[in-house]
Amino acid sequence: MSASMTTSNTRSLRGYLTERSASGRLLMPYVTAGVRGDWLELIDACIDAGADAIEVGIPFSDPAIDGETIQQASVVALDAGMTPAQCLSELAKREFGVPLIAMTHYNLVYRYGHERFAADLVGAGCWGTILPDLPLDVAGDWITAANEHDIENVLLAAPVTSDERLVEVVENTGGFVYVVSTMGTTGGRDTVDDAATVLARRVKALSDVPAIVGFGISNAETAVTAAEAADGVIIASALMRRVLNGDSTDDVASLVSEIRVGLDEAYGA
């Protein structure tokens, strides 16, 4: 696994994901920083359970794109005092075997300062950012600052995204395209929309950039469905739901293992 990790001046999230996806579907669990005291161990456990990369959520006070679960996880983490700086400095003290991707709302990046945030992301082992409320029309300044530090900014595509706009998303995204599976907020659902498959196909028809589906994936079955036309899946709320329920780290990670097995059985490892 660490064989494909490269040094920061040559690393490429897109390259890494492309390489990994050649032999199976990618699995990216999400963990809210500070959701509980052992959140860093939780990341380790997810990696041990077969994660290809980890999305680290930096909690924001007004997470407008998030459903109930991530909202609650954010409140818990904020109440525990988590800040962007603390998140990045705690990550910086560790070595993880896979790339991290910071996911948050743009205001925290704006306040931190583009330049400093990009630099600190590198120190924290982050290869990319996902800022869902920073659409491409206004993302230029951040993308420039991020790219100077080899941080790739991931853009999102939604089922309603027009063909014209999808071309721009695909051309301007870094790392991969985050395929939003459904018209809604983050949150585990029992079924995944066909919209995810349709959208993943539209992305793949335009480019060989990895397309990874997120929003609403809750178990192996929904992951397998969502990954049909895509390169992988993101699982967030279903994990954080277990954390909020007080499940042990092993129990949380077992969901990651189940999905790993499901994806590998369906699409080969």
């Binding site: 997470p63 407008a64 704006y110 931190y112 939604a158 018209m183």
Partner: protein, 395 residues
Amino acid sequence: MAMPIAASPKNMGAPNDLGFFGEFGGRYVGEPLIEACLELETAFTNAWADPSFRQEFLDLLNGYGGRPSPTTECANLGEMLGLRLLLKREDLNHTGSHKINNVLGQALLAKRMGKTRLIAETGAGQHGVATATAAALMGMTCTVYMGEVDMERQALNVFRMRLLGTEVRPAMSGSRTLKDAVNEAMRAWVSEVGDTHYCLGSVMGPHPYPWMVRTFHEIIGTEARQQVLDLTGELPDLAVACVGGGSNAAGLFAGFADDPSVRLIGAEPAGGAAAGRGVPAIVHGMKSYFMQDEVGQILEAESISAGLDYPGLGPEHSHLAKTQRAEYYSVTDEEVLEAFQLLSRTEGIIPALESAHAIAWVMKAKDELAGQTVLVNMSGRGDKDVQQVQEILEQ
């Protein structure tokens, strides 16, 4: 006589293509909402260029909303304060506040777009009531999101909305006030965007809302300017309005933005003084001044008035503040309570607690304003607040 709808003033014109007024505004929403914002922008632009839409809007404002609202000279309080006090009476509109102007505009637009459902956020409940009213009028279904705390403070308005056939859903997250109701409404909009129009209640949110909502409220300033001229033969020295998100202020200011002699004053609650104490933030789809902590978490506003209990303000106000075309000052809850009672006693006009902020600022600044003509936007009437004030005063 009914006033025609004028062209927008130069100094409060359209934002740029990306929705920015100077450095503020924009469209900071997730990809799922981008298409909806673009669709709305196109629909509004086309509708506003269509004289038949404008005429229909004006007919509704007048025939249903009760416009034009008068401008009333308040000689008693004016004499007491040593100035000439004029009130623009948005409190006399149907549903009791300025909010109906914007809502009738958006509901008409939603119909034109083929939407069958309205959703809205509300703080004091005035915007919720106005939206519920428009939905009833136009045969649309309606859901209003309201902070749980506000549902308690404004129980009467909750009942009014239900009476009008609207479903009221509590926003349970965060401070359970207006900002959380906005979050909830935005979340709901994403999943229902096909048949639903989000009827945003102030000059905030992603482009085109700040511009569109202000445009629908420009009638306030257009009427007021002519009425003041008719009454006094001159322009006022100041135009004063309370600022939550800033819609009643934006509507008033638009009438005077191109008159450099008229000072434009926004009165904010001390516990939510975004223009006074804020730093630019990106939240609720826009870049604007917000009260936030040092890392960028948005703070909870704290105000006696649910309608001003918002930690930010609309981006055009941030721009007007930054360019110093308008000035923003804050008043305390105590000063507001004082103003609420004084206007009631001296003029027989019970103001909304929100509007009482504007009166409170005039009272506070009276020495500086001696002899001047001060136009205050009476954005709403105080019926909804009477019980709350009674409880506070009897404590």
